[in-house]
């Protein structure tokens, strides 16, 4: 008679049990992804508009749509990094304003385009640095700090511009107009900038240590601290980056507009945050993607464009965009319930 087979110990039997099934298959995972729905909505919107209106699918209109959303999307890339760390930056509109005005004032005074761009970016970076230092090193609340800088930035813009509209950009003015308003190979220049920046951001988030730390800080700041992540430096860096992106958008936008008023950028922060949120970035932090952010900005612009082409009163735009923000957050919330356990 054979000996009875040896029983595995209770502990190792527990460990041998199959791992809990994944909560999503590949397809349900896709359907639960907010970015997927936003991409779908954008594509469907474009297709529907091409049939319903005769003007959407024209080269001129596509050109306009892509260029318009490029400005918002560029700033949204920087905003995404800020929100992923769990912060917020409502000063970007003012940063666009002050940056654009510094650029204009410098060039109007006769300096080269490089001096103008340099000063513009420096201004934007400085605003971001002030935000970053106060938030990261003095532990101040992001909303309050950026609210203060929103006010300071707008006021300084008025001071620097002397409250006048600038449309003469000096000797290099035509270069500036070509930069923001021109196109290369049929695609608007700002769109090229967006593509390059989006790829850089995607690469940074996925392949660099900095990118991973941004998500770690947003996911669990305490844990990041304990494991030696330089949390304060990371937080400061995302605000500086956010400021710089606003500066880049400002330079391109000024080139496109051809004139700068003191109201440049006013209210842009809401459009940027909307694009980021619709694109799948969670305001709580730790979740987001560069691709999603770009698509979020695209969707908002397609919506605005469709309302215009369909002849809807422009005042309705706010209602439609606002509704989409709420839907996006609701979607996020419902999807989040499943992930929580």
């Amino acid at each position: 008679m054979n000996d009875p087979p040896e029983r595995p110990s209770p502990i190792s039997r527990l460990l041998d049990e199959p791992q809990a099934e994944k909560s999503h298959t590949r397809w349900t995972g896709l359907l639960a992804s907010q970015v997927f729905w936003v991409v779908l909505a954008t594509i469907v919107g474009c297709i529907v508009l091409s049939f319903v209106t005769s003007t959407f699918a024209t080269q001129q209109n596509i050109f306009n749509v892509t260029r318009n959303f490029a400005f918002v999307a560029i700033v949204a890339l920087g905003m995404m990094a800020v929100i992923v760390t769990g912060g917020i930056d409502i000063s970007v509109g003012s940063t666009i304003g002050i940056s654009g005005i510094v650029l204009s004032v410098v060039m109007n005074a006769g300096y080269s385009i490089w001096a103008g761009i340099g000063m513009g970016l420096l201004t934007a970076g400085l605003v971001g640095l002030v935000n970053g230092l106060l938030i990261a090193y003095l532990d101040m609340q992001p909303f309050v700090v950026t609210l203060g800088m929103l006010s300071v930035g707008r006021s300084l813009a008025l001071v620097f511009s002397g409250s006048r509209t600038i449309f003469d950009f000096g000797p290099d003015g035509s270069q500036l107009l070509a930069l923001g308003g021109g196109s290369t190979f049929g695609v608007a220049n700002p769109v090229w900038f967006l593509v390059v920046l989006a790829v850089l951001f995607w690469f940074a988030f996925r392949w660099t240590r900095w990118g991973r730390y941004v998500f770690a800080v947003g996911g669990n700041r305490h844990a990041a601290n304990l494991t030696g992540v330089p949390v304060r430096r990371i937080i400061c860096s995302v605000y500086v980056l956010g400021g710089l992106m606003a500066g880049v958008a400002a330079i391109l936008e000024v080139g496109w507009l051809g004139a700068v008023t003191t109201g440049l950028g006013t209210g842009d922060e809401l459009r940027v945050i909307a694009a980021t949120v619709i694109g799948g970035t969670n305001l709580v932090g730790g979740v987001g993607s560069a691709f999603g952010t770009v698509v979020g900005a695209a969707l908002i612009e397609v919506i605005r464009n469709s309302l215009i082409l369909l002849g809807v009163d422009a005042f309705w735009q706010g209602t439609v965009v606002g509704s989409f923000i709420i839907i996006a957050v609701l979607f996020n919330r419902l999807g989040g319930e499943r992930q929580g356990n």
Partner: protein
């Protein structure tokens, strides 16, 4: 020569005497249960060992040589790691990302270095296999059970070839089934020659996995004996003060 030796360690915060004259020694592979009521000094002692703050008096020796820790990274450099009660994990990252958090391997040079995913996934997989855990390196921590999360936190300590792992209430907030997984993980560490200080309130856990039990009361060590030579009743008495010392 012991792995870790504490001689007359005392710590006070202003007027509060948190630790008084604690002497202790630890050999490789030993699992020591550190028990005591709230405020007895268990966490303070663990923090002194882990380098969170220096002792007010006394000295610490590792392999017979005196050491002074200014910050936790100093202790980590000497092979002392801590697994915190809340595990210090980022839910939105993968298991491998959490294991390597703060010490990511990279490819390339200068400012153009990228994350070495291949090494991270491979090494994390090896560590999980060593701990006999089912955790998969690419899974998000958010979707893991308590036992798997413990495995990730413990695997992190194996990265720097820790020689002493301090675990702070690892079984406090998890299910009964997962407790068994955690205790098994501790046994694995011990088998690899790593000393473990297990801070715990739970008598059955300590008595099932520890070689020795050290009891603290009001900042003093009141007992230090092998678990076979003691009993849950005796330890309870020592914790509450019914038994003065043992």
């Amino acid at each position: 020569m012991s792995l870790l030796e504490l001689k007359g360690i005392s710590k006070h915060f202003g007027a509060i005497q948190a630790l008084t004259d604690v002497t202790l020694s630890l050999e490789p592979g030993q699992v020591v249960g550190l028990m005591g009521d709230n405020g007895a000094g268990k966490s303070t002692l663990a923090k002194v060992i882990a380098g969170n703050f220096p002792p007010s008096h006394g000295e610490m020796l590792i392999d017979g040589k005196p050491v002074h820790f200014g910050k936790p990274l100093d202790a980590r450099a000497q092979g002392i790691e801590v697994v915190y009660q809340d595990l210090a994990l980022c839910d939105n990252l993968t298991a491998a990302a959490n294991v390597f958090l703060g010490r990511e391997p990279r490819l390339g040079f200068g400012p153009l270095r990228i994350l070495d995913y291949a090494t991270m996934y491979r090494r994390a997989g090896e560590l999980f296999k060593q701990l006999k855990s089912e955790t998969r390196p690419r899974d998000l921590v958010r979707q893991m059970s308590g036992g798997q999360r413990q495995a990730v936190a413990i695997a992190r300590t194996r990265l720097s070839d820790a020689r002493l792992v301090i675990m702070d209430e690892p079984t406090a907030a998890i299910s009964v089934r997962q407790v068994a997984e955690v205790l098994d993980l501790i046994k694995r560490l011990s088998e690899h020659g790593i000393a473990v200080i297990l801070i715990s309130h739970r008598m059955p856990d300590v008595f099932s996995v520890a070689h020795r039990v050290v009891v603290m009361r009001r900042g003093r060590k009141v007992a230090d004996k092998g678990t076979e030579a003691s009993s849950p009743e005796e330890v309870t008495g020592l914790i509450t003060g019914a038994i003065a010392a043992a």
